[in-house]
Amino acid sequence: MQGITKNDLIIRIGGEGGEGVISVGDFITQACARAGLDVYTFKTFPAEIKGGYAMYQVRAGTERLYNQGDTFDVLCAFNGEAYNMNKAFLKPGTTIVYDSPSDFTPDIPPGVHAYPIPMTQTAKELNNPRAKNMVAMGALSVLFNIPVESLREVLTTKFSRKGEDVVKGNLAALERGRELASALGKTDPWTIGTPKSKREVIVMSGNNAIGLGALIAGLDFFSAYPITPATEVAIYVAKHLPKRGGTLIQAEDEIASISQVLGASYAGKKAMTSTSGPGLSLMSEMLGMAFMAELPCVVVDVQRGGPSTGLPTKHEQSDLFLAIHGGHGDAGRIVLSVESIQDCIDLTVVAFNLAEKYQCPVLLLSDGSLAFSTQNVPYPNPDNYKLVERKRWNGEGEYQRYKFTGDGISPMADPGTPGGRHIATGLEHDETGLPSYTSANHEAMQDKRFRKLKGVINDVAPTEVDGTGTADLGLIAWGSTIGVVREALQRLRAEGYKVKGFYPKLLNPLPAQQFEDFGASCKRLLLPEVNFQGQLAHFVRAETSLRPESYTICGGMPFTPEMIVNKVKEILA
C-alpha cells in the first residue's frame, strides 16, 4: 500500500452522525473535483435515525477512479467509536488523524502515522463548537495537500446562505486547523496528486444522477413511495421536475406508484417510478400488466440488503432474480444495470428510450453503494443524448392497437387522437384489444410481445470487453462491482496476469452471443457479485453455454479491488 506509484489517496472520515462527518467529506470531494481531480466517495449510514457511527470515504486522484478502493490510506477519527470501528485497518503505512484531547486515546500500531489534532478543543476555543469538523478539514488539507483554494470556495458557497458570520466562523476554524497541522511534522508519504487540468465536471450521487438522466430523457410524470435507499431519486426529481412542467406525486404505496405510472404512460407521457426491493416485489403484478398491455415505463430499483426488510441501508446486488423473473405467467421485461454515476445518467436515458421503443417495462438496477456514492463526471450536454419517442399511429386506415407487425411493435395512439380509441388491457386480447382466449391468438400475441424484445440487444452498446487476446481468467461483473473489477484487472495485469473483464449492462434479454464470444477467449471464468445465490451466474448458465465460477459475498458492503485480486491469484495459483 506504500508509495510513490499510488496516484490516488483514500481518506476516511468517521464520527458520530451530526458531527459534520458528511459535510467534511462533501467539501473535500467538491474541492478536489473543482480542482480537477477525480473523486469517488462512499458512505455508510448509522442504523439509528440520528447519531450513531457515520462514515464518509473520499478517494481522490489524478487518474480515472472506478470504485471506493480498498479500505483507506488516511483515517480521520472524530471520536472513539470511529477509531474503534476502523482500528483493524490501521496497517503499517496508514495514517490516522484524530481528535485529541478527547474521550479516547488511540493505540497507534507500529508503522502507523499519527497526527493528533485538538479538534473539539479548538472549536470550543473559537467559540464555535459546531466547527470541530472544519478544524479537522483544515488539518487534513495541510497534511494531504487538499486543494485549499477550492476548499475555501466551496465552503464559502455552501455557507453563504447562512450569512457572512457563519462563513467567517467556518473559514477561521479551517485556518486554525491548517495552523495546527502545519506545526506537526509530516511523517507519512500520503498526498493528493496535482490535478492535470481543470475540467468541466459535475459531481453527483447515483440517486441524483438517475433523476438527472430522467430529466434529460424527457420525463413527464414521476410517482414514488419513499424507501431507503431510493428516496433521493424522488427528492431530486421533486425539486426539478416542476421546472420542466412535469408532475410528481408521492403515492400511498408502491402499487399505487406503478399504477399511476402506467396511467400516465397510457396518456402518452414518459413516466417512471423508483423504489428498492420491497417496493419492487409489490409491483410484480402491475409490471405484468405493463408487459401485457404494452405500456412503456421505467422502474428504478436501488437494491439494498435482503431478503425482506433485510439490511435497508446496506449494499447488495440481490434483486436480479426478481427483476427478471418477478411476475406470473411469462411476463417479460428489459433489465439494465448501472456501473457508475455516468451510467446512472446515460442508462436512465437508455431505459426511457427502450421503454418507448419496445412499449414494455424497463427496470434499471442500481444499488445501495452507488445510491450515495458521488463521483465526478464530465458535464453532460443534454443535446448530445438521442431521445426516442414511442412509435405513434400515423392516422392511416383502421387503427388496431395490438396490430401484428413484423417486429412486433404496434403503433400507439395518445388519448385525443381521432380514430385512435382503443383499450389497454391485462386480459389476453386480439389486435383490436378485445378479449380473446383462443389458442392461436394467445400464442401469436405472446410471440409478438417477446419477439419485440429481440431487437433490444442491438439498441444497447455491445458489452464492454476489458482486455484483449486470450485470458487465463475472464471476469464477468455487473453493477457497481464492475468498477471494482476494472481496477483489480489493472493491478493484476501490472503483475503480469493474463486476465480480461466483461461488463454487461443489459441483463435481460441477455446478450448471449456476446457472452459466448467472451467466454471463448478465456480459459476460465469468474463471476463476482454481491448476493448469496450467484444470481447473474444463474442466468449466464441458463442462457449461455458458459459455466462461470461464482464468487459471492453478501456482507452488506461492496467488493474491494484487493478482494478480487486475491481471489484471482488464488484461482490462478
Partner: protein
C-alpha cells in the same frame, strides 16, 4: 338537489346521442337482468348530455363483471388490475388534465382489494369520477361475499353465512373527503345519469354509488329489494354539511334504507390545479433549460 352546474371548459365537447357512446363491437358479457346494464345506460346518457368528446374521454376499470364496462363505451379506455383502477386513473388524469376520466368498478374491486387507494383519491381531490357498481357480491368469481354483502349472506366461501359488518361506500367517501358524493339505484338510469353528469362536471373527486343487482349470485339484494330500499333524499338536505350527510347515512342504515341523490358537494382545489399552480410558481415549462439544473451539480 343543487342547481345545474356549468360544464367545465376542459371538456372537449361534441354533440352525440347516448347510443353514439356505445361500443357495439364488444360482444355482450353480462348476464340477463344484471344491474350493470343500468349503470351503462346512465353513463351513456350522462356522456351525451355533457357532450364529452369520446376522443378525450378515458374510461378506466379494474377487474370484475362491473369492470368490463369500458369495453362497452366509445372512448379511450383501460381495463387494469383488480383494485387498481383508482391509481391508474390518477396517473392518466394528472399526466393529461385535459382528459375526462371516469372509473367504474365493483364493490370488491373498490373496497376490498382496492380499498387502500380510495382515501387518497378523495383527499387528494383527484378530478375524476368514480362510479361504484355495487352489487353486494363478487360476481365475476361466482358469488363470494364482498365487503358490502349483508352479514347473513351464505356464499361460496361462507357456506354457513357471513360474519362481517358490511361497509357503506357512501359513508367512507364522506369521511375520505370526496368533494362530490351521490348514490342511486342502477335501475334508475335517470338519476344515475344526472349524478354522473354533475359528478363529471364537478371539479374534483366525485363518487357515485350505484346499487346494481346481481341476479346470478346475490339472492338477497335483488333489483326489487334495492328499488324499495332506495329513498330520495329530503329536498331540505344541505349538501354542504358534512356531519349532516354522515348522519343521514348512519340513520338510513339503522332504518334499513338507502339514501339516494346528491349527498354532499363542496369545492376544494383539485390536485391538478395545485400542481399547475406549483409549476407556475417555479416558472416551469417544457423548455426550461436543463443546463440550469445541471449547473447546480457543479462542484
Amino acid at each position: 338537489m343543487n342547481a345545474p352546474l356549468q360544464p367545465h371548459p376542459h371538456f372537449h365537447q361534441v354533440d352525440l346521442k347516448p347510443k353514439d357512446y356505445k361500443n357495439e363491437a364488444t360482444p355482450s358479457f353480462w348476464c340477463a337482468g344484471c344491474g350493470h346494464y343500468g349503470v351503462l345506460t346512465g353513463l351513456l346518457r350522462a356522456l351525451s348530455e355533457i357532450g364529452v368528446d369520446p376522443n378525450f374521454l378515458v374510461s378506466v376499470s379494474g377487474i370484475g363483471c362491473s369492470s368490463r364496462l369500458p369495453y362497452f363505451v366509445n372512448s379511450y379506455k383501460m381495463h387494469t388490475l383488480h383494485g387498481r383502477a383508482g391509481p391508474v386513473a390518477t396517473g392518466v388524469h394528472l399526466a393529461r388534465p385535459d382528459l375526462a376520466v371516469v372509473v367504474s368498478g365493483g364493490d370488491g374491486d373498490g373496497f376490498s382489494i382496492g380499498g387502500g387507494h380510495m382515501p387518497h383519491l378523495a383527499r387528494k381531490n383527484i378530478n375524476i369520477t368514480y362510479i361504484l357498481m355495487d352489487n353486494h357480491v363478487y360476481g365475476l368469481t361466482k358469488g363470494q361475499c364482498s365487503p358490502t354483502s349483508r352479514e347473513e349472506m351464505k356464499a361460496a366461501v361462507t357456506p354457513y353465512g357471513g360474519m362481517e359488518e358490511p361497509l357503506d361506500p357512501i359513508l367512507y367517501m364522506l369521511t375520505y373527503g370526496a368533494t362530490y358524493v351521490g348514490q342511486a339505484f342502477a335501475g334508475n338510469a335517470k338519476l344515475g345519469a344526472q349524478l354522473i353528469k354533475e359528478g363529471m362536471e364537478h371539479k374534483g373527486f366525485s363518487f357515485i354509488n350505484l346499487l346494481s343487482q346481481c341476479p346470478s349470485f346475490n339472492e338477497l339484494d335483488t333489483a326489487v329489494v334495492f328499488r324499495n330500499a332506495c329513498n330520495q333524499l329530503d329536498t331540505g338536505h344541505d349538501i354542504t354539511d358534512l356531519s349532516a350527510a354522515m348522519q343521514v347515512v348512519n340513520k338510513a342504515k339503522q332504518e334499513g334504507r338507502i339514501p339516494t341523490g346528491l349527498l354532499y358537494k363542496v369545492d376544494r382545489p383539485a390536485l391538478d390545479e395545485r400542481m399547475a399552480a406549483l409549476v407556475e410558481r417555479v416558472g416551469g415549462h417544457k423548455d426550461y433549460d436543463l443546463k440550469k439544473i445541471i449547473d447546480l451539480a457543479r462542484p
